[in-house]
């Protein structure tokens, strides 16, 4: 009897919370298939009375900017991810495996930078980027997202915990340090690299502040900044159908990634927890 009550309570909580989580998404999807008149008409029905694809058509066919924004997001997130994977992994490997003078100082400085709040770096970095003549370029955003100190430390930990035997065998076979790293160590680190790339990609894809600050011309916007611009495009009356349709579409790539790479997601949150 007691067990039964407990079961009912547990299921009520989990499904209640699931509904709580899904509620806004369901409304967003529903609104994206409604004509504006129905959205602002205060209609309480989730299911559209006059379902329409107008919002999607307008975004994907008539508005040539939307594709551009998606493409920009893919490009910036993709390049930033490649930079991170390469540089963070190399740095972590160097700190874990190679002995060189000043290593401890470098490692401690890298760890210390994790605690610096973003707001402090915002203004000086803007001045530096402007001085470099990189304002309104993808390079500015990519450069500022190209390294992640937390993942350098994570990769260092990964290589410290990993047995050296494979590398020693490579050394006997006459491989150079670069050969060992790129042919042996890098492939071994695949799971850690997968987790890292996933979270970096998602972070840059969802980034708002940097892209808003550095990319000022509409053809350079990423999808997050584009969404915000779209919501402001008609003055005080927000075109909710377009805004909801584009919000929904901005989430779809992340959901696909999440479903395919589910196990790396959980691993990544765990790594975040150890920081």
């Amino acid at each position: 009897m007691k067990d039964k009550i407990l079961k009912v309570v547990l299921y009520t909580i989990v499904f209640g919370y699931a509904i709580f989580t899904l509620f806004p998404f369901v409304w967003a999807v529903a609104a994206s298939f409604k004509p504006v008149s129905e959205i602002v008409g205060g209609n309480l029905s989730i299911i559209p009375e006059n379902p329409t694809l107008d919002a999607y058509k307008s975004l994907l066919v008539e508005n040539n900017m939307f594709w551009r924004w998606l493409l920009n997001s893919f490009f910036i997130s993709g390049v930033a991810t490649v930079c991170n994977v390469l540089f963070n992994t190399m740095a972590g490997y160097s700190l874990a495996r190679i002995h060189f003078r000043g290593k401890n100082l470098v490692a401690n400085l890298i760890i210390a930078t994790i605690t610096i709040p973003g707001q402090v770096l915002l203004i000086p970095n803007y001045v530096i980027v402007t001085q470099m003549g990189l304002n309104n370029t993808y390079t500015a955003v990519i450069l500022l997202s190209a390294i992640n100190a937390s993942y350098i430390i994570m990769m260092r930990q990964f290589f410290i915990n990993f047995p050296r035997e494979v590398e020693e065998a490579g050394q006997i076979d006459g491989l150079s340090r670069f050969g060992i790293f790129f042919r042996l160590s890098f492939p071994i680190a695949k799971p850690a690299i997968a987790t890292q790339s996933l979270f970096i990609f998602m972070g840059v894809w969802n980034e708002f502040l940097k892209t808003k600050l550095y990319l000022s011309s509409p053809d350079k916007y990423t999808i997050t900044v584009g969404l915000q611009a779209l919501s402001q495009s008609q003055g005080d009356s927000v075109p909710w159908d377009l805004v909801m349709a584009s919000s929904v579409m901005s989430i779809v790539p992340m959901i696909i990634l999440y479903i395919i790479l589910n196990r790396y997601f959980l691993e990544g949150v765990r790594i975040g927890g150890d920081k």
């Binding site: 930079c83 970095n125 340090r177 919501s231 927890g273």
Partner: protein, 294 residues
Amino acid sequence: MKGDKLNGWIFIMPAVIIIGIFCIFASVFAVYMSFNKVNMFTGTYTFVGFENYARLFSDPKVGIAFKNALSFAVVVVPIQTFLAMLMANVLNSKIKFKKGLRIVYFLPTLTSSSALTLIFMFMFSVTGPINGLLTSVGVITEPINFLNDSAFALKVIMCMNIWSTVPVFMTIYLAALADIPKSVYEAADIDGAGAIKQFFKITIPQLRNVTSYVVLVGIIGTLQMFDQAFIFSNGSGGPENSTLTPALLVYNNAFGTMNTMGYASSIAISLSLMIFMAAMVSNKLTKANKGVDE
């Protein structure tokens, strides 16, 4: 290995260059700017000592922004921590559909802050579903203008923030729950302790370190809140400064029309000092608690 000293530096060089310029040099530069009057148009820096910091106390917006951030943290952090712990424990019990539920719960984490904010703005708009629901069940007679009413705007952002941050913290708790040895619970079973007693006597104490981490990350995150407030108010911090946060104030002073970059830097430095202090206090409190219990 031969030539390895050089290799060590070559491998770490990209990271050193980028972190050196955009983190370490930038931090020093930020402190320097906070003691200067910076004219971005002419590129001139005039040393003004503590003038920027003194101005913090006479600028009414600073007080409002810091008060907003603090009340935001005070409301959001306990609720998100409680919900995350609760949901992790529920998910950790013997229930079905775990995998599907996890995917659903994780959706807000996958979504960008701009999409989230716009979806919530839609939900809370005058003709939106929340007003529709409240009027149809008779809680209110006239729709509330949640987005443009200073009494509600920050509360909407609080709801959104709780809703969107619980999943990550829940996952951290889930990982920690998996690490509690089963034998502890088995021993309690033998002693005849019920599920609720076990939760309070075993689970919560075992999760203490994780909880202090979650609280710390929560405090840091809420005090730095920017994206949601910016999109919500289109950068103004309105209505009536009710969504103005320190981070938003930094942005507006630095990149607005006011040309007050030095002053903005002093706000940023003050914000980070406050974050460091909050972190230390929360650390001390967790440690003090430990001393009492053990």
